[in-house]
Symmetry: C2
Subunit: 339 residues, 2 copies
DNA sequence: ATGAAAGCGCTAACAC
DNA sequence: GTGTTAGCGCTTTCAT
């Protein structure tokens, strides 16, 4: 059984004794008589015919797929976001080209370039690059939607985000409500364009009449060792810290590890809470109080916005999706200095 | 500034005063004089020209991308596998269309269909469907490689797998070496075609002269509640079980949760170990002993095999990648019955 | 080294 | 309802 050439619309037409236009109509939903349709379908089945998205795409000047750029597919938040995008794309009949930029703007730019060459119908990104990078990218992309993170300087690019400020506020209020005053804040790196988390922390504290000690607000690149170092530095430098608010799961992980290393009991000696309700939050001991960001919804909405609401693009600022405070056992009432 | 039509090779050719063949050569690495190349490049830059992968793909009858089908992108193992595939694909200049089948064979078949229409250069899959499904899929796909899971009945489809048998063996030997004799085994559902984990467990025990009690070998669908129910059933039914070997991270999670619920101390009352060294294994208390599967390498190798070694396809059975036993604090020496 | 021309497989007028 | 035809943007002989 020799491997024949992949059958084309022409083969099907010939085999069914009709014109190619009729075959096209059968597969793209034109009007065809039932009898003819049957004949065509039979011939197609017979030949193992699959319409070529390449041919169709060339004609239509679009591929029927979208691009999705995230920092890292193994990050739980990104993974959920991807799942949301896939779910929505599926309902709309689009495929998704996924790639990871790993925080490297030039790599991200390459990915965008590639997606443009693929003539994707649009791209969803949790951006790593600068505003200039994305200003350029937006010019060349048919359309872009930011998801999970946005660039404040580009309000014309629609975005779907978690209400991070609200999340941090509720976390801060929760800790303050337990009596904590010296709360350490583990935030993202200084270069980070979206300091909304840190800002919300400061604002909430101020609002509560709690003075913000600069010494307690530390920034770290959200990478294993950097985060660990930052957490260790904070907890060792200030043994009067009674609670730590980690602005991300990697930072939270670092806090848990450092507390364990320093033999601090949680929450007796120090309370820990974080942004991102990842799987291990429930598994660790004690289970960690966290603010859940609706990652999957963010992905889903972003995809919907990209594909269904091209009109609405960018109107009225970013879409903010509510976070949810999940209280577990890692935070307790203020007792006394830990030593 | 009106939004002009996307420039084509023809526009560039005209603007540079050359033929379209020359432009094509410039972008696909043909031989062109330095001066001409410069002119073309300048014109292209000028027009914001990007070669259309659709046009090229149609001509070449391939899209330059591959398909990747996993059960669930949010599963840590799958996510790592995806990362591996992306890393390799990137080095080979291919893009990756990712989709999740969620264990549904018909959905998986749809995805395959779609990928074929896209004329992907090949597909990598952690298969959910039956052997019949994939026999059919393989006929219509240019090429397929299984990753992380394979179908024993289709040895002609190359596969890259973790050495699961070896992993379970080392875990079993480790527990037995600690003195445990009544080891509960939490395995995957009965329908599972690859019972290698359970088989390895039984074989190792037999080899060690430890009788296998059927009552201690339970199967559960690896889904939250089913896994929990199975673990709870096991631990409640047999309070003489001194160790649990979970054949996957969801099963392990269930074991940890149940132990906590039943107020069993780990490892004093019961030792717990599992397959899959996911992030939370290190974070939970006590940290969990686990066997790490090289998910990323599996993805990378699978991609490499798909794209670089089309010759070697399926020769010599599946490629087995070594697992690694990561000993942490969740397993202790046998002491006494727990109550 | 470069250009002209023939498709790659498909859709969308347009005729009938 | 159905067939004919003209491209969609590209690569690739084949001349020059």
């Amino acid at each position: 059984m020799a491997q024949r050439r992949t059958p084309t619309i022409k083969d099907v037409a010939a085999s069914a004794g009709v014109g190619i236009a009729t075959v096209s109509r059968v597969f793209s939903g034109g009007s065809v008589s039932a009898a003819t349709r049957e004949r065509v379908l039979a011939a197609a089945r017979d030949l193992d015919y699959r319409p070529s998205a390449l041919g169709r795409g060339l004609k239509l000047r679009r591929s029927g797929g979208i691009g999705l750029i995230v920092p890292d597919v193994t990050d739980p938040f990104c993974a959920e976001l991807i799942a949301g995008v896939l779910a929505c794309a599926r309902t709309l009949g689009e495929h998704v080209i996924v790639d990871a930029a790993h925080g490297d703007p030039s790599r991200e730019a390459e990915i965008v370039e590639r997606l443009v060459e693929q003539r994707v119908d649009g791209v969803i990104a949790q951006p790593a690059g600068t505003e200039a990078d994305w200003r350029a990218a937006a010019r060349v992309c048919s359309s872009v939607v930011f998801a999970g993170r946005a660039l404040p300087g580009l309000p014309q690019i629609p975005a779907v985000l978690a209400d991070d400020a609200g999340g941090v506020r509720s976390l801060t209020e929760y800790l303050a409500g337990l009596g904590h005053r010296r709360i350490g804040f583990l935030g993202a790196a200084p270069g980070s364009p979206s300091r909304v988390r840190e800002d919300a922390f400061r604002a909430t504290l101020a609002q509560l009449g709690v003075p913000v000690e600069e010494d307690l607000v530390v920034a770290a690149r959200p990478v294993g060792d950097a985060a660990y170092a930052a957490a260790a530095g904070l907890l060792q430098r200030r043994d009067d810290v009674t609670a730590v608010l980690a602005a991300g799961h990697l930072l939270g992980e670092a806090a848990v590890l450092v507390a364990r290393e320093l033999d601090l009991r949680v929450p007796a000696d120090v309370s820990i809470a974080m942004v991102d309700d990842v799987a291990w939050a429930e598994l660790c001991d004690p289970p960690l109080t966290a603010v859940a960001r609706p990652a999957r919804d963010i992905g889903y909405r972003a995809c919907e916005m990209l594909l269904r609401e091209p009109a609405r693009r960018g109107r009225g600022g970013p879409v903010l999706l509510a976070t949810e405070l999940v209280v577990r056992g890692s935070c307790g009432p203020l007792r006394t200095a830990r030593r």
